[in-house]
Symmetry: C2
Subunit: 627 residues, 2 copies
């Protein structure tokens, strides 16, 4: 992969509302003043005359432009042009003739834009809430089907009370989340103060952000700069979405020292000065919003490159080492000759063995280790390490921890079997088998882990799943590095597993004690939103106060071994302001497998159920983890 | 088809809550006292002990009954037994162990019921709104998958404030409208007074109605009878749904003259005395809730049996005759020698020709008729009629009315090209072609037609469409004789076509004037409901005040030529009390076809959008009518 920073750089365009006679001059000037592209009307406003065309006019049979009707007449520069669609079209006119002429003229305009190969076209801003947009949505949705190269952007002017989002939400719901329809988000002079309202847009399919000249203020040298809230938000958009940015020039000189290049220069300055990427960012670049099927480590063997990747985590093994260190200190007195037995179950290529050895050295306690591994390939690496480094300090065991019958019991049982949702790689089932190795008063590291969930909006993730066009993919959880997402609430715990589990007998005949069911409520959702699925995280107590966590509020800084997990919803749910979202989550098992089922209920503030999803993945029909 | 009345007769069962030691005796007594089946617990309440089973008890690995734990022990009578599932199960207990034991015990009970081959099993009544039913829904939904013969009924006690319906609605939404899950509806002592609330249940998948003894009152001879509202509603249920009826016997003697047989006798008496079926009922029996694809009369030729069926309508041709009669009276003075030219376009086998001839005779006006038909098979019948009956009074023309160039023009143009939605068999397009036959001041019969729509609930129709498991069938309208449906509001007009259309020129080059778009709002939906689709009707002015209509409020009595049309929704929408439902409907055309698109928005009473359907059938991808 190339420089992970480079993907954050944004192209900048210049928007005009003028109908230039010679658009080439405008484009040349825009590029000379440092812009990458322009946004201009395609068709002249004089073409508005066609709205009055009567039924018996031949234009209706085959609409055609005169040369003078066009602003963009030739395909030169076409990949540097975003066409703005005529703002005089009345797609939702109650007058049938006006409406039909508008449909014909829009179709004609889109056909022309596609013929020229324009990079994108952009609608006029979605009107306020009183006007219907149903027919506009239908006609755009119909026409994008035949747009191969040219992108369709719906322009939306952000507002403080979320009306713009509701209008856009209505548009895309009518168009059934058509992945060919994107948003051009125009920033207003006053940004909403509510962070959630700003973040809502992050989950939308934004391709472009419009930053008009009049939202700039002058700095003390008279140059245009953005107010602090706009800076912060625009940088966030750049970091998360990498949109095309579009600026305008002011009609009159409102920033004394401004040149035509000043606005784009300032934006580029912001773009160059995004916060530095941390280890997690760097590791994650290229994985953003990419759906990975969760691992099936019991059924499949991890390959070497995966071990390689996971072993590079700078934080996880540090925490394990700390946990083992404190466990040894608590368990064995200083200067004691007692040799603690530590068993590392699922030792892989040995990173936890090294942790334990370092911890013992630091704690000045004597230990003997067992390293248990079922993967024959990883076991070769363990043999190498024993021969070259560990020698007698470590006994190797090639076995499945659920089957092995040890001759001795251990003081500390160490494992790293956790998945993004804690128990989803079947740590509970594995440790049920391994806990018989542990002395009555022995310590399991980890001691417990808890799964967390929260409702999530993400147009991008929804469309990634929808692209498979089947129910199976909508009933499968994915491991994903979240990027264009918005959490609707702070996540909450669903269930916990503790080890050792004292309530079960050795080698239990059934797995029912590892079933879980939890109903989690999120009250008073603060604004209208859409929900595309559920985000899942885990938090684990390794030993006493030594934790690892991928829960956003307690995330172990710099730990990159786990991305969150995403449970999709087959149909996105509308969530009105003040609603309560209830998540029902099940962990279910039979003799051969483990799976999750989930459903969502949205109850409006007045107590009427507004929507209830079906139970996803009933009986594990689409997704399960093999035992 | 056999006697159309017979399908309305209902089987009657006797319900007990006792745990009989000898269930055979009870069943024999029930049958001796005239019942067709019984409903009884399957498992004894003493089996409740298993709820306390701990993780290390072997029952968890393989639950098994002692003989004494069972009420129904043998498969005798099994097809006359509806098993009531144990009412002590706690599927939604917050105690994990109790919940899991309940799941195991329920699964065991269902397996036993299926093993015996019981006719059906019935859950305990769904509890009040405060208790969660998510896990119950999940477990039932999971287990019905393996129930081949035995039906699953969810028992619901109807109430006055719709809470019971909401609970059921939640259950079946979680179970994704699983067609294997039915309702056993228990009538309460006091029925809701609101008819709509009663009718809501008609749209649900009811298999059984429970009529407990204590809702009966004594008549003046001391026999149990139902109060008037219960009589009316039960008869409606019998007429529309033909449920199994279940009665109970009172614990103490509350009806002085009652014998064990009295309750079922009374129900049978009601069942025998349903209102007589009218012509439409009789014609429609066997077609109830059966989905028919709408006709494509332009692309396909009707066959003889269809002509036969449609010509039998006693009302339609009476209305046409009346319309022609009045048109002739208005157009030609008494005693005039003027010979009016009438063209029947789409004459089929000639019924409208006969109407016109009868009208002329009755009006004492001279006429000459042209009968135009494109179907070569029907044309043979017309030739026979001309040779044998009509002779010189009728000129036959074998042609498509959109192509024919007549030598003379007519005074009256008569057609019967209407479909269930008015324009859906392309009457507008056909008459555009035919109106050039008409004199400047000529009359078209029909003069106009209007399409009507209303939101509809029908679990049955939804599941019929869902059974095809594709989007195409969810985006196709169907002609259906409605039976188990409930309209959510009174229907409203969407658009009208008038003939002749003076705004278009002869042989228009495009069909844009026949496009339509309409947004129809239904305010203040009076209670919580579910919406599965849209019902469509038409009303047509043949001439002045001579109408035909299939709109429920103005339905021409006895006319059976048209069933309503049903536009499905891909995902049922929850509609909260007080909501506004907006229907967007489009009639769209291109050079080769005509199609509809539709979408639905439900806005809650506080103005927040609660749900927006996608636009169905975009670009006519799933359904269209060929020109």
């Amino acid at each position: 992969m190339s420089d992970p920073e480079s993907f954050r750089s944004c192209a900048i365009g210049l928007l005009t509302t003028e109908y230039f006679d010679n658009i080439d001059t405008f484009i040349e000037e825009a590029i000379d003043s440092g812009h990458d592209f322009v946004s201009t009307p395609i068709v002249h406003s004089r073409y508005k005359r066609v709205l009055k065309t009567k039924d018996n006019d031949s234009w209706k049979n085959s609409p055609v432009y005169d040369r003078d009707d066009l602003v963009v007449r030739k395909p030169n520069w076409s990949d540097a042009v975003v066409g703005t669609l005529s703002n005089w079209l009345e797609l939702d006119s109650t007058d049938q003739n006006t409406r039909i002429n508008s449909e014909l003229a829009l179709k004609q305009e889109l056909a022309w834009a596609c013929h020229l190969g324009l990079f994108a076209v952009m609608t006029p801003p979605l009107s306020d809430t009183t006007t219907s947009i149903s027919n506009l949505a239908r006609v755009i949705n119909h026409n994008v089907g035949s747009m191969a190269v040219t992108q369709m952007w719906v322009r939306v002017l952000m507002d403080k009370n979320n009306q713009a989002w509701k209008k856009w939400n209505q548009f895309r719901s009518l168009a059934e989340h058509n992945p060919r329809i994107h948003v051009a988000l125009e920033l207003p002079k006053e940004l909403p103060e509510d962070d959630l309202l700003l973040d809502t847009w992050i989950a939308e399919p934004i391709k472009s952000v419009i930053v008009p000249a009049d939202i700039f203020i002058s700095n003390n040298k008279g140059y245009p700069v953005l107010p602090k809230p706009h800076q912060t938000y625009l940088k966030k958009l750049m970091h998360r979405i990498q949109p095309q940015i579009i600026v305008t020039l002011p009609d009159v000189n409102i920033h004394p020292s401004a040149a035509p290049s000043s606005y784009q220069e300032y934006i580029r300055y912001l773009n160059r000065n995004l916060p530095e990427m941390n280890d997690v960012d760097r590791f994650a670049s290229g994985y953003h919003d990419y759906l990975q099927a969760p691992l099936q480590p019991l059924m499949d063997n991890l390959d070497n490159s995966m071990y390689e990747t996971f072993e590079r985590d700078p934080i996880k093994y540090q925490q394990y080492e700390k946990a083992v260190y404190h466990a040894l200190l608590d368990r064995v007195e200083h200067d004691s000759d007692y040799v603690s037995t530590i068993m590392v179950v699922g030792a892989g290529r040995g990173p936890l063995v090294n942790c334990c050895l370092r911890a013992a050295e630091k704690a000045e306690r004597k230990v003997h280790l067992y390293a248990l591994e079922k993967n024959p390939n990883a076991f070769v690496t363990l043999q190498n390490a024993k021969a070259e480094i560990w020698h007698d300090k470590v006994t190797l065991v090639f076995a499945d921890m659920r089957k092995w019958k040890p001759e001795t019991k251990c003081d500390i049982l160490v494992s790293e079997l956790l998945g993004s949702f804690g128990d989803n790689e079947l740590s509970p089932e594995c440790l049920d088998g391994a806990q018989k190795f542990l002395k009555e008063d022995g310590i399991s590291i980890p001691a417990s882990y808890t799964a967390y969930v929260t409702p999530l909006a993400s147009s991008k993730l929804y469309n990634e799943v929808a692209a498979y066009k089947d129910v199976t993919h909508f009933e499968t959880p994915y491991v994903v590095m979240f990027q264009q997402v918005c959490e609707l609430a702070v996540s909450k715990p669903v269930w916990t597993f503790e080890h050792p589990n004292k309530t079960i007998e050795q080698d239990p005949e059934n797995n029912l004690h590892n079933n879980r069911y939890s109903q989690t409520k999120f009250d008073m959702i603060p604004q209208d939103m859409i929900m595309h699925g559920i985000a899942g995280y885990f938090e684990s107590v390794l030993y006493k106060d030594v934790m690892i966590s991928i829960h956003p509020d307690t995330h172990s800084p710099g730990m990159f071994s786990w991305f969150p997990i995403f449970f999709p919803l087959r149909t996105p749910l509308q969530v009105a302001q003040g609603s309560t979202i209830t998540l029902d989550f099940w962990r279910t098992t039979d003799a051969k497998k483990v799976w999750y089922e989930w459903s969502v209920t949205v109850e409006s503030s007045n107590g009427n159920d507004s929507s209830i999803s079906p139970i996803h993945n009933p009986s594990g029909r689409s997704y399960w983890v093999g035992l």
